[in-house]
Point group: D2
Chain length 429, copies 4
């Protein structure tokens, strides 16, 4: 299978920028060397690090008010894989795709897996969907899903999750991510205790179906689609559920799912200590679950999260293996460009976290030298790691300047002619 972007084009775009990149890389190398860090070691770690992209993220997102379609956006899993292959070709940080069912249902999953492999892609955690009804579905999720008062609805939701596991098995996945929209819009609408009991009872049935070596990840969210209460609204509820469900059940942190002002990096540390840090959905937000591009609003917070991950990796306390995924809604940009920008921002935070002088940091912490501790962390944040990321991309066949190269490829314009148009999203309101 032909890669969607011509490697020649990439090489051709890279050529005139190589000299400048080498100059910047070497200058940064000297700077890091003065701090006792070998730049090539960092570059190697960056090359070894990756984050998954969600299949649905390849399409244009929207709000309850409107969706403005993009000419050439993908409308099925095959087209989505193709776009994900573009992201991986240019950025070299996103070799896996996280599928969502039933949105990505096909008749032949072995074939789908081969198709992905031919594009240089694998599959990551499987996502179930029990927050919206599908045509022909027996039970409606209007009353919730795993926590619904209606037993047939809970059974349907359990069965769907088990099907997702089975599909995931065929695709080579080893994790199921469960997010439910279950909750209420009115005080009194449901009893908090009974809802949680029902959720746990149903979730236990899903848990029981996990194959060996699999994980089940629970994703909490403060609000939306429910606006008074949500059954798994915070990390505390997620932790309680994961503890009750068992060893293979972990908590997944979506950066946009918390109350205003919350210290998310501390939550990461707490979940790791509890042995329950399962994974991340990366995005950024200013107000609610805005699903904006990772690092676009608060890049420093993203760095602080990665600083905790670096600490956790150094102190595994029985295990450290989080699943990383981008989870964004691209309402105003080309999704390919947004995911490339986001993967770069995330990898940049990973790289910066590697640059923290942990020995000095811990010493300053122990000595209560607040300013020195802060500045040790900040010294890593302020480094422009762009040259490391670009060098890692170039050496792996990716693009130094992925935006210019992507636009030069005219991928989207070509797809706009090939793919069928998406209808207007008139909004729901």
């Amino acid at each position: 299978m032909m890669p969607p972007i011509s490697p020649d084009l990439i090489a051709q775009q890279n050529a005139p920028q190589a000299d400048a990149l080498h100059d910047e890389y070497q200058a940064l190398g000297r700077k890091l060397e003065r701090r006792g860090i070998a730049i090539d070691t960092i570059k190697s770690r960056v090359k070894g690090w990756s984050v998954a992209v969600p299949s649905w993220g390849a399409g244009r997102g929207g709000t309850r008010f409107a969706k403005f379609p993009l000419a050439g956006e993908p409308t099925n899993i095959h087209e989505k894989l193709e776009d994900c292959a573009v992201i991986q070709q240019l950025g070299r940080t996103t070799p896996r795709v996280s599928p969502h069912f039933p949105w990505d249902c096909v008749s032949d999953y072995a074939g789908l897996r081969q198709e992905a492999e031919a594009l240089g892609l694998g599959f990551d955690a499987v996502n179930s969907n029990t927050f919206q009804d599908q045509p022909g579905q027996a039970q409606s999720y209007a009353t919730g899903s795993l926590s619904s008062t209606v037993s047939a609805t809970r059974a349907q939701a359990v069965e769907h999750n088990i099907e997702c596991i089975e599909i995931g098995r065929q695709l080579g996945s080893t994790a199921l991510t469960v997010w439910v929209g279950d909750g209420t819009n009115f005080p009194g609408q449901q009893d908090f205790a009974r809802s949680f009991d029902r959720y746990l009872d149903a979730a236990a049935q899903v848990y029981a179906a996990l194959p060996d070596g699999w994980r089940m990840m629970l994703e909490h969210k403060m609000f939306e689609p429910a606006f008074y209460s949500s059954v798994i609204s915070d990390w505390g509820s997620s932790l309680m559920a994961a503890q009750e469900l068992g060893e293979k059940c972990k908590c997944l942190v979506d950066l946009g799912h918390h109350a205003p002002n919350v210290n998310i990096e501390q939550i990461v540390a707490r979940l790791h200590r509890a042995g329950k840090l399962g994974g991340f959905h990366f995005n950024d937000s200013k107000y609610g679950d805005d699903d904006l591009d990772s690092g676009s609003i608060n890049p420093h917070q993203l760095f602080l999260v990665f600083n905790e991950l670096a600490e956790a990796e150094a102190n595994p306390r029985g295990g450290f293996d989080p699943a990383y995924m981008i989870d964004q809604s691209h309402n105003v940009t080309d999704p390919i460009e947004s995911m490339l920008a986001s993967a770069e921002a995330i990898a940049g935070c990973y790289a910066r976290a590697q640059l923290v002088d942990r020995e000095a940091l811990h010493a300053a912490q122990e000595a209560n030298d607040v300013m020195l501790a802060f500045r040790t962390l900040r010294a890593a944040y302020e480094i422009d790691v762009g040259p490391i990321l670009a060098m890692a991309r170039m050496e792996q066949g990716g693009a130094i300047d992925w935006l210019t190269t992507y636009r030069a490829s005219q991928h989207r314009a070509r797809k706009a002619q090939e793919r069928k148009a998406v209808g207007l999203g008139a909004g729901i309101v």
Copy 2:
């Protein structure tokens, strides 16, 4: 035209409850008399007070994740008017409907006005829609509307607003409410100053088209659908725009459009002092623009808003004539029930605000007797004004217990057989 609910049914439902209502009304009358208040005066004021309902509120709402339709929900303005007539028949507080275009477009507006009148309804402020694209529309609002960089798009938005004024004129309306979704999702996406300039320039063209005796109301909103910035994001921006546009331009306060923790009642007082308090969109919220039923989450805040309105009415400073409308999204209830409950909650806060002993309140404020001032206000809030509201309804032909009466009417079940079904809302995500 037959009223949608049989007056006989209402009378029949009221009959067995009348004795209890009289007992409660008289007991409350004695209590208020001890405070120097004549209960019948309050009842008369309640009868003279009203709030509009939005035509779109008669349909089921949803989120970007899903919409779960309701059997029998209305799908056009005629059916919506019918449902609004039910609300007015039972509740007697909502004699006007606020239409939204193009959602409520018809070919004959004079006929629509007659149709509404036959149902006992009039029309309130007209709402324009430049936040989503319609089939066949020349310009997309993907880049914004009144503030778009694209001059043809701004012109289209201006023209649409002017059309709304013209329709409103035919319907007997005297106000245009302008809410735009214009804003950005990324730092740098647009320049704040230039966007605002474009907005003002376009809005001035709409303003210029206002007939005599009309008002133009600007509705600010912190976020959604834009998640980094919104062109009219707060009351300060709304005030600046209304000042620049002119005398007939006022600010409209939607209770769910503010930052967390904000003191909305003080904003009401500030806008009144600036001579710019134009109107309200009532709803409630816990997190963002949740559009929940009025008073369902924080009934005390709603009361505090009405306390400011009562103060403003007593101190008009050149004018006090706000337009009141319910603006909610009924995702999990029958919209007729939610609007009846909301209208009652709002009218109850109006009634409570009438019960405040303002002389005592002002005296305590002047004396810095904090506890006495607080308790003077609280004394009014704690009164159960249900008997006043129910008596006012009954005496005007409405239902003492509107919920039971509505359900006894089987209105929705009948409509579920008559009206065409609404499709699934698969969500946008």
Copy 3:
């Protein structure tokens, strides 16, 4: 010992209000009877319910900017007890005082206990203080207390808590409330994991010193005095700690210690389900830990918390025995008046929660009849329970109108002549 307020004065103040009270009580009785509720049963429950007051709450509070003293405010535990006796005499809901050490240190605790008993008071949970330094203290808490990096500081904090237990034992208390201000103001200042480890290690030493029948209650708080992170910042951290420490360790919920918009009533339900709901600090807030009078800002939220407590009591899941305390900072009112108002507001929410038709509520929840479930809850909230509370007070020797009676007593003016003046609080800034 003479009670601080003359019983004759109370009787004399009550007399002219008794008729009106009986009229209101009887009218409410008829209303409740129509709902199948016997008003006397509710009144009895109210009489059996109580909440503790904090000794420090008897003094005037302030902010970092200023404290404005009140003439006649108490400056030692003896005067504070006297003021608490006034509160209990008039309100009859607050028979216990929660002491704080070292603020309330005396040389003879057996004597203090007798002194309180003579005033009709007992002692509630003991509060330790490791968030500020005392003159002559060996170690400073500038680096934190139970989580400090300095082992001598941790040891001092442990020892202080154990002393508090010992004092509490002498005072007849059976619970220790532990709130620490430990946290950071800078990213990187401390390591989240190591801080938490140190906290747990030190807290375990305190736990080990608990006598039989005692509880240790951990109080979480989002921020202040630390402004980047706090070691026990949320209920999830509190739960983790309480689980690790053991059966006798529980979580205490202060209503003002959460992130904006958080659903606190659901947290109450979650902690109860985890078997860790230990107690409450009641207050209200609009922005942060404002420590305002209970129910003054959001009385409906307070009711929703009590609705969860009523559910929890009906479904004890192995135990339900929370400790209730008022915890407020009275910056602008007479603390006696604020605590009387707060105790009444809290007891009113307790009473309203008793009025919820739980059978109907559960049935509506099971049937997904959202509107009916909501209105079943709301029907209880809207009842003006004032007559029940006033009758309960009067029958127990308290005041129908506690504010007028308190002011008639001239207690504060008398104390202003007896007690030594408090200096200006110039603020810290």
Copy 4:
């Protein structure tokens, strides 16, 4: 007068770091040159830019719970000036001090001005204090100050502000910053409209006393010390007041004084458009008015503010001359270190804002090329401007590495021996 830090020490500390700095500066120069930017131009602008430090910021801050003093902290304006001179000597960005009265009262202001000049310092905006009582003061500010119901209190507050202007005149200042803590803790405590009227009436008297060439700057704050409402709580109220008071009255933005999630950079743009952007108080915050070090929590937001300032400077719309001041509370660090770190962080954001390719940014905005616009802005943010700042410092006699140099100077240890100790701050609670 001897400068507090020996220039020889600075030179000696700089020497071994100069080579590395030159390497980094040149590498960055090549990088910028490839973007068409001359690094020396940016360095010159940085040299020409400055920010004031507040006299009170030289002392240790605290919270209502505690203040932990620092050995050697200054206790009078003379010692504070000395510490501010250290900051300016090492950092070369903070040549002016903003005084606060009555905290900085002396008998001879001409002498104080000379003393400052001898230390290389001038005076910036004068700050009045009507939020706390001073010994011997006739009226208490317990009821507020400029908005108090008590006319004698308002008169006292007006008079104090006028005195501040007079002192400022003697010190060479040309601006008065007015922040009042006036507000309420209870609904109903004061009437919003009457309070605002009183505020405006009193503020107008202060305004009338402004000498030619002076500005009066109003500082809004959402909450604290008042916890239900504040008279100038948001930029809308500040704008209304500044418009009413007159041309010389402007609005001052403190970055920590807003509601959660608010887009502060847009407020900056709005105030500039209204001709009312007067100045800034720089700090950072995570929860409330945390007064943390500038850029320590959200450095990207600080950059976005400076991006607006750069836009405003390029589009002055009748004037652009904001007053910049650091306003922080240094609870856990040496204030000198915190102000050096903050000044560097602020100057770094100024420098980055100069690096934005505005032509490209505007072109992308006009073309609705969202990703390109965002990345144009981000490209400037990601540059490590440290070498520019360090070179500017070194060339002006400051320290390349100010932290190490400051510590090498042992300034604080020496002062700990010279200066009298500060007492414990036991907290107010």
